[in-house]
């Protein structure tokens, strides 16, 4: 690697060959605004905000697309730059209707922040999109065209997911970003578009009223559960470090909202692991392979819509939040002598597709939805901020019993490879392996496709662990040609798994996903209890409650069906 020196605003800095001026500036604490730039995506240089001047070169240059050269001298804040940046921001603001009052980004809005920094008149040009409609993608995602600045990040990230739900369309002489009407494409609700939208034009469908109202109703019992990956991400919303572990802070903060019962979805994950491991072992014996993971609802929807021929291979085991919700409304309700109809279960999830999952009819328990509302990580943070609750300062509290203590296996569910590792730990035990392996390093990390070879029941099992739907599609295409290529697939729709989920704090980048995942593994490493089937509450519930196949099926299993396009535009 070649290093050399350049100057930014008169300050000498050391740089690596191949870096862009924007990267170098940000590394050195020099703030250059950039809206269409995201480290996950290709350089587009559309927004023209990151412009700089370079000594000896004519004109202005976009720092996102300009690579450093030896002895370069960069100016990021000349009067010319400031003037152009101000106009360009004013033009961008004219595409973005300011409805700040009910916008979830109000505490952290890029446009508002930049407009202060750059002395911008937000309404210098009339909002040209003010009459554009807001479009709903199922119960998960809302695209407010009146706020879209046409940066095209959503198009690129959706194409990267191989979903292709966004496109450019020309309307009255102006090209704009729209969801496609093509019936061969449907949204999988993964929410990656949200994570990559710089201005909050795409957001999760937040139902704050539905969450807050039952808290005031005396006859309702509100129960919260929170997903594995939240504990290493939500701190970021309150100025904490990337990946900081805040499990008990979350419980404390939720309780400060007036919620009495807070359970840990990782306990639900332990049940998912146990059931899925049983399915694996059974399928290995019967030869019905491959076995495909089912806890990512975007992935399930993707198969149901695009590859229905693989439906028989998806594990019927329900996802952790659905199983835990089911147990709350059956086992726990009976134990507490509460009419389950008066229980409102709210899940805090890193995910927008979880809002869709709770509405799937196949997931009902005794006619009830196991979970009533889903808040994303961002939405819980918003709710807390709205109630002036600072998660950073809150007194940590442990999750409630009996559904509050999980194994380490239940925690790593939040990272790509976590489900596979948890299931392998338990499956090896169930199959009677001597000294079953606990650490499966080969399925950890941020690589798109990871492969593990494990010996279960005397058979060599080849498992592929995939994150990102684009890579998953490639693997499915390979499996169509070579059905025996893998015996099992774990797929998470989002990069890095749930730590990079569509409901997670913004920004989310490769570096941040990695930190969140590493923290999850550090929790697992510290735990004594690291396998799902050894969790005392799992054992107890199987002994006392999930005693027959009917009950197990009712709470823990689901079904799938071929789908036509669901999103209506």
């Amino acid at each position: 690697m070649k290093y050399f020196k350049i100057k930014i605003n008169g300050k000498e800095v050391k740089v690596k060959q191949g870096q862009t001026v924007l990267e170098v500036a940000r590394e050195n604490g020099i703030n250059i605004p950039a809206l269409c730039y995201h480290p996950d995506l290709k350089i587009k240089a559309n927004c023209r905000l990151c412009i700089v001047e370079i000594k000896g070169k004519k004109g202005v240059h976009t720092s996102c697309s300009t690579h450093v050269e030896p002895d370069m001298e960069i100016i990021t804040d000349s009067d010319v730059i400031k003037g152009i940046r101000k106009t360009n921001l004013e033009l961008i603001a004219s595409e973005h209707k300011e409805e700040c009052g009910d916008c979830i980004k109000q505490f952290d809005c890029t446009i508002l922040k930049l407009s202060k920094e750059c002395d911008v008149e937000l309404n210098r040009f009339e909002d040209r999109k003010k009459n554009k409609k807001s479009l709903k993608f199922g119960p998960s995602v809302e695209f407010d065209a009146s706020k879209c600045i046409d940066c095209r990040n959503c198009i690129e990230v959706c194409n990267k997911q191989s979903v292709g739900f966004f496109e450019l369309q020309e309307k009255n002489g102006m090209k704009e970003v729209v969801p496609t009407k093509d019936k061969d494409h449907d949204c999988i609700y993964c929410g990656q578009c949200i994570l990559h939208c710089p201005v909050g034009a795409i957001e999760a469908m937040g139902e704050f009223k539905e969450v807050e109202e039952p808290l005031q109703q005396k006859d309702k019992t509100v129960v919260f559960q929170f997903a594995p990956s939240i504990r290493t991400s939500i701190g970021e919303e309150f100025g904490m470090d990337y990946g900081e572990v805040v499990t008990d802070h979350i419980v404390g903060a939720i309780k400060a909202l007036g919620v009495k019962h807070v359970f840990d979805t990782s306990v639900g994950a332990d049940f998912t692991t146990y059931e899925e491991a049983k399915e694996y072992v059974e399928n290995l014996e019967s030869g019905c392979l491959p076995c495909i993971s089912s806890c990512c609802p975007s992935w399930v929807k993707f198969i149901e819509f695009n590859y229905p021929e693989f439906i028989p291979h998806i594990a019927t085991t329900r996802s952790p939040q659905i199983i835990l919700g089911g147990l709350i409304k059956t086992y726990w309700a009976e134990k507490m002598k509460i009419d389950p109809k008066n229980i409102v279960v709210v899940s805090v999830m890193p995910c927008t597709a979880k809002k869709y999952e709770i509405r799937r009819k196949e997931n009902k328990v005794r006619g009830m939805n196991p979970v009533d509302q889903v808040l994303t990580t961002r939405e819980l943070a918003f709710l807390l901020k709205h109630h002036k609750i600072d998660l950073k300062k809150i007194k940590p509290v442990s999750a409630d019993n009996p559904l509050g203590v999980s194994s380490g296996a239940g925690v790593i569910y939040g990272a790509s490879g976590g489900v596979a590792e948890s299931v392998l730990r338990t499956a090896c035990s169930l199959a009677g392996n001597k000294n079953p392996k606990i650490d499966f390093e080969e399925v950890r990390g941020m690589e798109e496709i990871k492969v593990a070879k494990v010996n279960i029941c005397g058979k060599s099992v080849k498992m592929a662990v995939i994150n990102g739907i684009g890579a998953a599609r490639r693997v499915l295409e390979e499996m169509k040609k070579d059905p025996c290529k893998y015996d099992g697939l774990e797929v998470m729709a989002c990069p890095g798994g749930c730590v990079g989920g569509g409901g997670q704090p913004i920004p989310t980048t490769a570096e941040i996903r990695k930190k969140r995942a590493e923290s999850l593994y550090s929790i697992d490493k510290k735990k004594k209890l690291r396998t799902a089937h050894e969790n005392p509450i799992v054992k107890e519930i199987y002994e006392k409650y999930l005693t027959d196949e009917k009950k197990i099926k009712e709470v823990c299993h689901t079904s799938y069906r071929k789908k036509k396009r669901e999103v209506k535009i």
Binding site: I43, K44, A45, N46, C47, R48, L49, I51, G59, V60, T62, S65, V80, G83, I84, K86, T87, N88, L91, I92, S94, E95, R124, F125, R128, I149, D150, G173, M174, K175, E176
Partner: protein, 332 residues
């Protein structure tokens, strides 16, 4: 003729690109020639899409053999290369047959242009031939390094190849072709020295309108370069050479409705720009808004002009505001 010799001749001739950007031709050739690749492309750009510019059409009609010869010179200079003549739809129809006959067995093919005005920009030409989105590419890398199908590519205008041929034959006399139109008696294409002033060109071609230099009101104004993005000059500003694509369009002040004229320009850009970058997409939208309402906010226009000229993604956006700014400054 040796390869280095022709590049040396191009250098001596000081020939610059006649597509409007006036980049030194010898430099472009040198870059593509020196680039390391297993395959290289030469594109003769005959996309001529701006109103008021019709000199490439004139050249293709009258001197196609010179153009083909110019391309052959490039083929001989740049190793492992093949050439494509990228032609406007109607030019393809009119001149295709003749060009094919002249090409014979040379590795030169014809390509019918897709898209509009922007598809004349050299990276968009590559996109067009590849069947990609008709939007300019990020530079660097320049087309000379990474062009068509990712290979080093020389893109020169029809007129540039014409003059390459002349230079090779030792017949170049530092002239260029001027498209003269508008309220003139002798509309047409004229070949004059590159350094002649507009005034001299209009006089020589007998196109200079009668006017009274002492009168307060001006009788005419001129658009220079191209009929959409060209600068506006007043009668007392014509003592300068023509720039850009060397179009000279005369407007009789009495006969010209300035708002209609600006409307035609802005409608052109509104239709032809690609809407990729903020300043051009939103800037043109706001200028159109002003022109539609027949009310120019001079401060806003000045800011948009500055922003587009300096920070647009491609040449279209960088040039588009010039005539509006000029009309606003000089005529409104």
């Amino acid at each position: 003729m040796k390869k280095e010799e022709i590049i040396e001749k191009l250098k001596k001739s000081e020939l610059t690109g006649r597509g409007g950007a006036a980049f030194p031709t010898c430099l472009k050739w040198q870059l593509v020639k020196n680039a390391k690749a297993d395959k290289k492309y030469i594109i003769c750009n005959g996309s001529e899409g701006e109103p008021g510019v019709f000199k490439d059409r004139f050249i293709l009609k009258h001197f196609p053999e010179e153009v083909i010869n110019g391309i052959r010179v490039a083929l001989g200079t740049i190793d492992k290369s093949e050439a494509i003549i990228y032609l406007r739809h109607d030019y393809y129809k009119k001149f295709g047959k003749k060009l094919k006959k002249l090409i014979g067995v040379s590795p030169i093919t014809l390509f019918k242009k897709t898209g509009g005005y922007l598809a004349g920009e050299e990276s968009v030409v590559c996109q067009s031939i590849e069947g990609g989105t008709l939007e300019p590419r990020i530079k660097p890398p320049f087309t000379s390094e990474v062009g068509l199908h990712g290979k080093p590519t020389l893109v020169n205008n029809v007129e540039t190849f014409y003059y390459v041929s002349k230079i090779q034959k030792g017949e170049y006399e530092k002239t260029r072709f001027y498209s003269i139109s508008g309220d003139v008696k002798n509309k047409g294409v004229y070949e004059y020295p590159v350094d002649w002033t507009i005034l001299r060109i209009l006089m020589e071609s007998k196109n200079l309108p009668d006017f009274d230099p002492t009168a307060d009101e001006i009788d005419f104004f001129v658009q220079i370069g191209g009929g959409s993005c060209g600068n506006i000059l007043l009668p007392n500003e014509l003592d300068t050479p023509a720039t850009g694509q060397a179009a000279i369009i005369i407007y009789n002040t009495k006969k010209t409705d300035l708002w209609k004229l600006m409307q035609s320009w802005v409608d052109f850009f509104y239709k032809e720009n690609c809407d990729k970058c903020v300043p051009c997409r939103e800037g043109i939208y706001r200028i159109k808004e002003m022109v539609d309402k027949k009310s120019i906010d001079k401060e806003k226009l000045a800011n948009i002009h500055m922003s587009m000229q300096k920070s647009s993604f491609c040449g279209l956006g960088k040039m588009a505001t010039c005539p509006f700014k000029d009309v606003s400054d000089k005529l409104l």
